[in-house]
């Protein structure tokens, strides 16, 4: 009789724990789908749902605040997406909020991102239709990348042509790099300029100017030496 009662208790514990695990799992799943929280609904009209599916998350400021409840085509150019949002978030959702379809990552599922509205406006109402924003489509990004790559091809073509001209010694830059007579002339010019400056130093018109400059330089050097000495003394 005793073992019979013991077995019944053990069976009871097993059944209770099994049922409890099941209930907790349902609770967690329900919580994710906002089944047990008080909620409100908003909807938005999109041109393109971008692969959004019922059950996808709705995010506000990067936090999951609800789920997509219904998606229906209203006309040939618009899709109505209904969302269930946690009631406690309503105070942050002011008029002017925007719903944008985004994705969780390159391979992740789609999400609706809600961007904040005007802070001095009223809270949004239940069943309100909020504005939708243009989403970044991966195809659009790829299209832009394609245009960028075409431009890059043009740029490298032009660069190639310029380098060929330079190597052939065409144009002033080409002459600068490739023409040896041009380099010799340039060297001769520089020697001439150097000789001219030396002559100017000895001419009686500019002699005073160059002497004043030398004196100022010598004074500056002396000052620097004194400052270095003082520093050394302080250190000792």
């Amino acid at each position: 009789m005793k073992t019979g009662t013991g077995n019944k208790i053990k069976l009871g514990i097993f059944v209770t724990s099994g049922v409890l695990i099941f209930i907790v799992a349902i609770y967690f799943l329900g919580q994710r789908q906002q089944l047990f929280n008080s909620t409100f609904r908003i909807s938005s009209l999109f041109k393109d749902a971008n692969g959004l599916a019922v059950g996808n998350n709705v995010r506000f400021d990067g936090i999951n605040v609800g789920t997509v409840d219904k998606i229906q085509i209203t006309s040939d150019t618009s899709v109505k997406v209904e969302m269930v949002i946690d009631e406690s978030i309503r105070k942050f959702l002011k008029k002017g909020v925007k719903a944008i379809v985004g994705s969780e990552g390159l391979m992740g599922s789609k999400v609706v991102n809600i961007s904040p509205g005007m802070s001095d406006e009223k809270e949004i109402q239940n069943n309100e239709i909020v504005e939708s924003g243009a989403s970044t489509n991966i195809d659009e990004i790829l299209l832009n990348m394609q245009l960028a790559s075409y431009n890059a091809v043009d740029i490298t073509d032009n660069l190639g042509a310029i380098i060929t001209n330079i190597r052939a010694g065409k144009g002033s830059v080409g002459k600068l790099f490739m023409d040896t007579t041009f380099a010799n002339t340039l060297g001769q010019t520089m020697t001439n300029v150097e000789e001219g400056t030396e002559a100017a130093k000895h001419s009686f018109l500019l002699k005073g100017y160059f002497k004043d400059k030398e004196k100022a330089k010598a004074k500056e050097l002396a000052k620097e030496k004194e400052a270095a000495k003082k520093k050394k003394d302080k250190g000792n």
Partner: protein
């Protein structure tokens, strides 16, 4: 009055394919009649509550350790084996979600039920067969006790109720194993693991997995009882009954699983 004994066709030593096919259909027909008889007896009073509780204890509690241990190992193995594949894509953060889907949708129900088909199915088959061999079932019929109700209905009800619970507990323990395995090479906190697990499964996964295990449990109990209750006389019959209970029970689990997947995919 004998309640029910399904006379099986006499075994012929050299069977040709048409005889085998005929035997197969006869067997299917007999199992269906046996199931019909079970449902007829199920709702007819008096109800054998005490014996049902005892069988629930035998099926549920006595299998818990085996199911729990294999579930824990299953969780660890699944995680360790899935990791290299995900690592190639740099997606090891998907491990908890992938584990949850694998365990809750398929591995948990299938492996737990196969273990139960081995342990519980063979146990029921051997027990009833030895009762048949030692003429205890005949004695019960003579004494006016309804052996079908007392032996078959209670056992099938017990497996139908307890196996889904065993699967739920096994899934839970498997996920604990998966959590430990995830932390062998990565660092995943418990709240993050729970969040990832419930993000990757939905109500459909949980309910379809639980509902199909009710059918698995029913099949395991029914086949075990059928094979034991209708076993041939002699000690050889006991072994055969236990063996067939496991083989046919396991096969039925796979067949039902395939049907369940097809039905679930309609709703996805």
């Amino acid at each position: 009055m004998r309640t029910i004994i399904h006379q099986r066709p006499a075994k012929v030593a050299d069977k040709n394919s048409s005889t085998m096919l005929k035997d197969f259909f006869i067997e299917v027909g007999l199992i269906t009649t046996f199931a019909g008889h079970f449902f007829k007896e199920l709702f007819k009073p008096p109800f054998e509550f005490k014996e049902t509780f005892k069988q629930c204890f035998m099926v549920g509690n006595k299998s818990l350790l085996l199911v729990g241990l294999s579930g824990f190992i299953m969780g660890i193995v699944l995680t360790i084996q899935s990791r290299p594949g995900l690592e190639l894509m740099g997606a090891t953060s998907w491990l908890p979600g992938m584990d949850a889907q694998g365990i809750v949708r398929e591995m948990g129900p299938a492996i737990t039920c196969l273990i139960c088909a081995g342990k519980v199915g063979s146990g029921i088959g051997a027990e009833l067969a030895s009762m048949r061999v030692s003429e205890q079932i005949d004695a019960m019929e003579v004494s006016g006790t309804k052996p079908f109700k007392y032996l078959v209905v209670t056992r099938v009800v017990a497996t139908t109720l307890m196996i889904p619970l065993l699967v739920i507990v096994s899934d839970f323990i498997s996920l604990i194993g998966a959590f430990f395995a995830c932390n062998l090479k990565d660092s995943v906190s418990m709240p993050l693991f729970i969040s990832e697990v419930f993000a990757s499964i939905g109500f459909l996964d949980l309910f379809s997995a639980t509902i199909k295990t009710v059918f698995f449990g029913f099949a395991i109990g029914l086949i075990g009882c059928y094979e034991g209750y209708n076993s041939s006389k002699g000690t050889e019959g006991v072994g055969k009954a236990a063996n067939s209970a496991v083989v046919i029970g396991s096969l039925l689990v796979f067949i039902l699983d395939m049907i369940a997947v097809q039905i679930t995919s309609f709703f996805q």
